[in-house]
Amino acid sequence: MPPVGPRSGDAIFANVERVNAELFTLTYGAIVRQLLTDLEEVEEVNKQLDQMGYNIGIRLIDEFLAKSNVSRCVDFKETAEVIAKIGFKMFLGVTASVTNWDADGTCCSIVLEDNPLVDFVELPDTCQGLYYCNILSGVVRGALEMVSMKTEISWIRDMLRGDDAFELQVKLLKQVPEEYPYKDDE
């Protein structure tokens, strides 16, 4: 069977089931608010959001692969492009861009100009340390881990902190090949 080429993010987005953006945004807001009440510490909330995102990411990757028909990426550069152009479009309805590559191609930035999660959000003074969209970094980390890429992800720019865009730095720590060790003594 000839391999089916990857579909563009727009085509998939048009086909998958969608929910009202406002419902999504407000639900996420309610979750973050509840976490702040429950955990009290902003740092703890950041951690919890990242963990929640990770749990989503490890499941979401399979849906992404099943519905987008992308084939194995040749390098990390292609992976980053696929996440920004197809992944974000498919699940969040926005397209991101990839910039700021380092020399060895293991670290880059995914820039989101538009982010539906923060449509109605203003950070109060008490929550200045909060990475409101930390769930996204967890999702990307979890998804990449399931395709054998260990990454470290951090926020460089955050519109809620007065920057002009959201910038997510993705650093590839190591690639673990899916191989079985065949040593008898192991």
């Binding site: 490890i58 499941r59 990757i61 399979d62 099943a66 079985y180 060790p181 008898d184």
Partner: protein, 173 residues
């Protein structure tokens, strides 16, 4: 034979789906005695679903499905070592005199395979469809725990439908 970092766990879930026999379009004589067994292996856990009219000889119990999945898991891994060039991802189709085994491995390493009558067509499509069902009805179920046996009724229902639809399409051809 050891499986390296991936242990074979002994949790198995077996489900047999029986084809209803009032299929008027069923050809007589040699006919289609299509046997479908859909297996899904990940980190040694097995889901098995069979749709068959092979009678008792084709029936699998819990231990059988564990055995089949373990066999396939290791054969798939070994086959990668047989390739003369690197970058082999394992067996996709295994043809024997009594059955064909089609395997689809997702990029995340989950393997889906279907055992069917020799020469059965369009199994790749069926496997891809099952992968989509798996992402929809298993992974999106908040109460499904990763790498545990699948006990999702919605998945079973949709899987049965997919296999039956495929079977009807086969008979129509």
């Amino acid at each position: 034979m050891r499986f390296g970092s991936r242990r074979i766990r002994t949790c198995v879930f077996a489900l047999n789906i029986r084809q209803v026999s009032n299929d008027s379009r069923k050809p007589t004589g040699s006919g289609f005695r299509t046997v479908f067994r859909v297996g899904l292996i990940y980190s040694g856990f097995i889901f098995e679903s069979g749709l068959k009219d092979y009678g008792s000889s084709g029936r699998m119990d819990t231990n059988d499905s564990l055995r089949v999945a373990s066999l396939w898991h290791s054969m798939h891994a070994i086959s990668q070592q047989l390739s003369p060039i690197s970058g082999c991802f394992g067996i996709e189709l295994l043809q024997a005199d009594t059955f064909d085994l089609h395997c689809f491995q997702s990029l995340t390493g989950t393997k889906f395979f279907v055992v069917c009558e020799p020469g059965t067509q369009h199994m790749e499509g069926l496997l891809k469809h099952i992968y989509e069902l798996y992402t929809d009805y298993v992974l999106k179920n908040p109460f499904y725990e990763m790498e545990m046996p699948i006990r999702c009724e919605l998945f079973d229902i949709n899987l049965t439908q997919a296999i039956q639809k495929d079977r009807v399409a086969l008979l129509a051809r």
